[in-house]
Symmetry: C2
Subunit: 439 residues, 2 copies
């Protein structure tokens, strides 16, 4: 029946991504029919503002302001949830699955915060759940981790998964501007939200990291267990000094597995200027992985935007539709049953061992370096290189910048607290973690 009549889609949400989906469905109509063996047919669309906002033409499609009407539409085979946020997305998705419909979503917040319910419901109801668009829009990283890398054991993952932060940092680096004006420009360009907290405070990246971790490491980590630090505190001076040391600063989502213990963290990171990730400009995304067998891999592409994200949504739709026309059982959305994912043992940040960039604003006076390096030495932190520069201009402080050898974060934080108490040091000192192993 389905093979003859086509696969019926119901779309909830007609914003940036939803409009892209409508556009691509139209543009690629024949290709989809050929690849699936049956046409894709959009039959029902719901959007709060469908009556008041302009939208692409939708001839023959039932239109509604009520998302429930789509989910409850008996004709709909696949529900595309593109409204974002956790409510009512959560209830809509659960209801659609309970009614035996496949679901495709771009909603990382929903999956990061309610994955236990949503993934388990997909299994329980035996329906497909596609979420390729939820992380790194145009990069098929979900499939790559779940299927392409299925035969390997992942050891580390480093992701540039927030295009807003990458745009801000790349622009600060190119233009020499400070954070605030660049954020403002990003907002004007539509690359940052009016309320930028989800992006610039690293929350969005942390949510995405929890999804990547399930696929790459086969364990579960709640968002709260991901150490999360944003990019607000970065000054132009740090970006400039990073460059002198041979580094670029990127907001990275990092996960590493060693002896059954997982590191899971999101923070600004200095990485070698000649590494591939350092070359990821503008609002692009990229995910760099290290596998036991595969070694280094990188997937790069558009992180967001109407058409790239729509293409990701529709890649899931094509997969679901192909399976439906052949009446195949769904494969589990995470590559293994939800129950197989054990909670990860997450390493505390205090136990982290790494190299650091440190910046102190110190009074321009002899003996300063001795005092600071003394405190660092007491905490077993040895200095790899130092830049002490010029005369102060007004406030009588000069930046003192260092790169350390490997040290534990606990010791580093103790030392920074002690240094900040020195009368010769002004304001709060800055430290940025360094990752060298990105070759």
């Amino acid at each position: 029946m389905m093979a003859r009549e086509g696969v019926k889609l119901g779309l909830v949400g007609l914003g940036t991504v939803g409009s892209g989906v409508v556009q691509l469905l139209d543009r690629q109509r024949e290709a989809f029919a050929r690849k699936i063996g049956a046409p894709l047919q959009l039959v029902h669309v719901a959007s709060r503002s469908i009556d008041i906002k302009p939208h692409p033409p939708l001839p023959g499609v039932r239109l509604s302001v009520d998302p429930w009407s789509v989910v409850q539409d008996a004709e709909v085979d696949i529900v595309l949830e593109l409204i974002g946020g956790t409510d009512p997305a959560r209830s809509l998705v659960l209801e659609a699955m309970a009614r035996g419909k496949a679901v495709v979503t771009a909603n990382k917040a929903l999956l990061a915060l309610h994955g236990d319910e949503v993934f388990a419901a997909a299994e329980a109801h035996g329906v497909r759940l596609g979420f390729e668009a939820s992380v790194a829009g145009g990069i098929p990283i979900i499939r790559t981790l779940r299927e392409g890398f299925v035969a390997d054991r992942n050891k580390a993952l480093f992701g540039i998964v927030n295009g807003t932060c990458n745009y801000i940092l790349a622009t600060m680096s190119e233009d020499g501007a400070e954070f605030a004006p660049v954020l403002h420009r990003a907002q004007e360009l539509g690359l940052a939200e009016a309320d930028p907290r989800m992006d610039v405070d690293g929350i969005d990246a942390a949510q995405k990291l929890t999804l990547l971790i399930m696929l790459a490491f086969g364990v579960r980590v709640p968002v709260e267990a991901v150490y999360t630090e944003g990019i607000r505190q970065l000054d132009q001076i740090d970006i400039t000094f990073a460059r002198e040391f041979g580094y670029a600063i990127k907001l990275l989502a990092i996960a590493k597995e060693e002896s059954g213990v997982l590191e899971a963290r999101v923070h600004p990171t200095m990485i070698p200027q000649d590494s591939l990730l350092a070359g990821v400009g503008g609002a692009y995304n990229a995910i760099f992985t290290q596998g036991e067998a595969l070694g280094s891999s990188l997937q790069f592409g558009q992180g967001a935007g109407s058409l790239p994200t729509a293409a990701a949504v529709l890649s899931d739709v094509v997969e679901s539709a192909r399976a439906q026309t052949k009446q195949q059982q769904p494969r589990p959305p995470l590559g293994c049953a939800w129950a197989e994912l054990k909670p990860a043992a997450v390493r505390s940040m205090d136990e982290l061992v790494g190299e650091y960039y440190l910046r102190f604003m110190a009074v321009d006076r002899p003996g300063v370096l001795t005092q600071i390096s003394g405190i660092l030495g007491d905490q077993d932190i040895s200095i790899a290189s130092v830049i002490q520069r010029g005369r102060s201009d007004g406030d009588n402080t000069v930046p003192l910048v260092m790169r350390t050898h490997a040290a534990t974060e606990r010791n580093l934080k103790t030392a920074m607290t002690l240094v900040d108490q020195l009368p010769i040091v002004q304001g709060k000192s800055v430290y940025v973690r360094i990752e060298e192993s990105l070759g």
Copy 2:
């Protein structure tokens, strides 16, 4: 039955990749069983030298010198063809499929030269055919093009798909050495074959390109229709001048589609030094694509080697095994039926329009530039920049190097022939195509 007993594998060929497969099967035994829902069991291995060469321990596995014994083994569910070459690989694979077995192969020559038979046979017999390992070993580019990018229309593809050539060119660039000694070093390191023709003459890359084209553009191109030029003719001087112009030289496999006409070519290419592909070092591979909706994407990873290629082979094995345990129909290996792939209309190289790097060895005498630029001008080729350098050292010639604006290849070749007839020009002049659009 299968779900209880496990999925039975037969392996033909125990070379570099075959040994890697045995190693990974052992190392990832539990993970495979969990991901498939049934254990993978290697039951039969054939290798010409199984009696005389050391190999990983294979307890409980039937061993044979005869590949046919594996293919004819009634217990084997999936045949892994890892002997390479077209014969007897072709007959073995066809026989395995005729017996209803799934086949996984790393053999790009087989698929590039006998794809018509092999892909059609997979469909006719309703068996799965996996070939992720046949192009760019550790990069899941087959899946990415077939499934990840399924909803988009590809416009262009640029691949570094031959690790040998990439190693040679990267080393020539870093060390300032000439082609011959670097090739020799690559041979000593096992990165180039004793007979390097398949690699350095671009044949291997051209075969891989035909496979990528089927997946990315949904059309067929015979290997003979791919313009193929290797890297032997490149001198250190060209690599040095390329750098002065801001370019790196890479052997690229290129396909572009425009108005239903396809460009398909393999040749050394100058690309911007700050492009991601220029940063692909050593024996790595990378594929850069441009899609109508997705924009720019890059997949980067190990191009060859025992474990990366084995991981690709086993990703196909896992997929086949999952489907077998669920008794699912196979999906077509190319994402659509073989008959849906129409022969491509391939643009003749004469019609190519692009920018060029030109190098002439000219007698060091006034008027030389005038004569050469006159000939170029007569062919509608305008010069973007020129480097004319120093005095000759011995043979009385100096290099004269130019970058052109867009010109047609037909005109360029005419001009080069005419220039080479000038008495003031010594030897054969060199031209290298430039690709700027890799941002």
